[in-house]
């Protein structure tokens, strides 16, 4: 790129421009608060995952960033402008989950159609190759498999060489290999400064590929950090042991115990101090076969987004 910075913009040192800036954003449908006061700042070049259970407000938040729906309150800026302005400049593109393609066009026609809409677009052949669909260019979209259609949507999103790419459940319907290849492509682009925001149900995907994970619950951000930080927020370990005749009331008195669970002869003590819990169980009770289990990001996710979780605090254990 050879563009020089415009006046008033500080040269490259220090603060990177914000790709997305949400301030106090609210969106409600009737009495349902889909987005309930979200603040969010994405810097250029970050790969950020939005995680949350169904109805947490992931898609509503993405729709607002893309200008597909209007926030009822709050400010939305994408590269410092209104979402629609950013889109019409080809700065932002998105791969949505379903639909969005005309069945009676061919793959190549769909790409040509979309490319013609941008002031400047990438070479069509290159985009088809990058997305891995050059061999099916002449096929009707209606005859393509779900995975092929998804790759076509990805190709469309790359056409404008966007600075921000938004992906809603991007690898749904892809096999493991396809998923890995997809993320390798995304990472390579991000190294060149592209910001990527994706919503996913695959916790391990967020864990493995995102620099930063944002957890949403009931339209609020309940955690925001690296996946290691998220795990630490729901800190603690689970101590499991075999202890016949244990009662939950008594176990709750065990040092470090936060929540306890009895399943048959097994007891599970979710503990903030697993050493103290284990020492107590082994010396003061008849517990045996003791195990100490670290929580994964999945537990952290459940702890932070579960319905019995206190907002923002890691108190409850894995539920069910």
């Amino acid at each position: 790129m050879t563009q020089t910075s415009t006046s008033g913009v500080t040269p490259s040192t220090g603060a990177a421009p914000l790709a997305v800036e949400l301030t106090g954003v609210h969106k409600h449908f009737g009495t349902v608060h889909a987005v309930d006061g979200v603040d969010l700042q994405l810097a250029s070049g970050e790969i950020v995952a939005i995680l949350g259970p169904n109805g947490a407000g992931k898609t509503s938040t993405i729709d607002i960033i893309l200008g597909l729906s209007q926030a009822n309150a709050g400010q939305v800026k994408v590269f410092g402008m209104e979402p629609r302005q950013a889109i019409s400049r080809g700065l932002v593109s998105a791969v949505m989950q379903t639909g969005g393609l005309l069945r009676d066009l061919t793959v190549a026609e769909t790409v040509e159609y979309t490319a013609s809409l941008f002031a400047r677009s990438q070479d069509l052949g290159t985009v088809l190759r990058t997305a891995g669909i050059s061999t099916i260019a002449d096929r009707r979209v209606g005859k393509c498999s779900g995975g092929e259609q998804q790759r076509l949507r990805f190709a469309l999103a790359l056409l404008s060489n966007p600075d921000l790419l938004i992906l809603d459940e991007p690898t749904t319907g892809m096999d493991v290999e396809g998923r890995r290849g997809f993320w390798a492509t995304i990472r390579k682009d991000a190294e060149q400064g592209r910001t990527v925001l994706f919503a996913t149900h695959y916790l391990e995907e967020a864990d493995a590929y995102a620099d930063r994970v944002i957890l949403l619950r009931h339209g609020k951000v309940v955690a925001d950090g690296t996946s290691a930080e998220i795990r630490a927020m729901a800190a603690g370990r689970t101590v499991r042991a075999t202890l016949p005749g244990a009662s939950e009331a008594l176990l709750a008195q065990v040092p470090g115990a936060e929540t306890v669970e009895v399943r048959g002869e097994s007891v599970f003590v979710h503990s903030s101090d697993s050493d103290a819990t284990a020492r107590y169980l082994l010396t003061q009770t008849a517990a045996k076969d003791l195990e100490i289990i670290a929580r994964g990001i999945e537990d952290a996710f459940l702890a932070l987004t579960g319905d019995n979780a206190e907002s923002g605090a890691a108190t409850s254990g894995a539920t069910r």
Partner: protein
């Protein structure tokens, strides 16, 4: 503001000219239309068949009417029927695009909603032109229709431009109705409106009370106007009021539904 919000390459980005309207879009849209066999058959083949079956072979075909003959009169009526089918269908294709989520996909591109509507209307007009040409070619090849060259061109052009009214109608109903069966429903509605507007039989066949009502149906005014050059009988102001009123109603409806749609999508 302390944070710089414009990156170097952000400043270099431009929006497309004309809200994204371009000839590649038109080319692909027209190619798409030709793939929709049912639309092509209904909008082009049926009016020609109607003309050949019902319009010709009558004893009064060659009877003089105004500056031409009866066959020319019938040809204009059926060309209007075809053009109206074509432009309505062209406009109503938005319902299929909405159902397939394509409208939403387009909101992620620089294409402006107005440019999208312009593309839809132009595509509908191309199909309408082919439909008019089909009936006129049938009229010329069979050698029955007779009027001056100026009238062939003048009436054909009036029919084509007049069908714009129904591009608005198609857009309105395309946004209003669900995609399933919208085409069948429109075919039925247009058949009824064509009867009411006097495209198939003169409305003078009906009683005066019925005629008074039919004169305010959407195709009556347009049908009268496109026959005026042939008949040379002058224009009644109520025909113009009819066309303008329906144009306002259909356009208002299309804009209303379109606004709703873009707010919700």
């Amino acid at each position: 503001m302390s944070t710089p919000t414009i990156a170097a390459d952000v400043a270099g980005r431009r929006t497309p000219a004309l809200g994204g309207f371009n000839l590649t879009l038109l080319k692909i849209e027209i190619r798409r239309l030709t793939r929709n066999r049912r639309t092509v058959v209904i909008a082009i083949v049926i009016p020609v068949v109607f003309f050949l079956v019902f319009g010709l072979g009558q004893t009064y075909d060659t009877q003089r009417v105004g500056h031409g003959n009866v066959a020319a009169f019938v040809m204009i009526s059926l060309a209007l029927y075809g053009a109206v089918l074509a432009t309505t269908f062209g406009g109503a294709l938005v319902s299929i695009e909405r159902a397939q989520g394509w409208s939403r996909q387009l909101r992620l591109t620089p294409l402006s909603p107005v440019a999208y509507i312009v593309i839809k209307v132009l595509t509908a007009l191309v199909l309408g032109a082919v439909s008019v040409a089909g009936v006129y070619i049938a009229g010329a090849v069979t050698g029955k229709a007779s009027m001056s060259v100026g009238l062939w061109i003048g009436t054909g052009f009036s029919v084509w431009i007049g069908s714009l009214l129904f591009a608005a109608f198609g857009l309105f109903l395309g946004y209003l109705l669900p995609a399933e069966n919208v085409m069948q429903l429109l075919g039925l509605i247009l058949g009824l409106l064509s009867f009411a507007g006097g495209l198939f039989i003169p409305i003078s066949q009906f009683s005066h009370e019925v005629q008074d009502v039919l004169k305010w149906t959407p195709l009556y005014g347009l049908n009268q106007l496109v026959h005026t050059p042939l008949l040379g009988n002058g224009v009644d102001w109520t025909w113009i009021v009819n066309v303008l009123a329906w144009l306002i109603i259909f356009s208002w409806g299309a804009v209303w539904r379109f606004r709703k749609d873009t707010a919700r999508v």
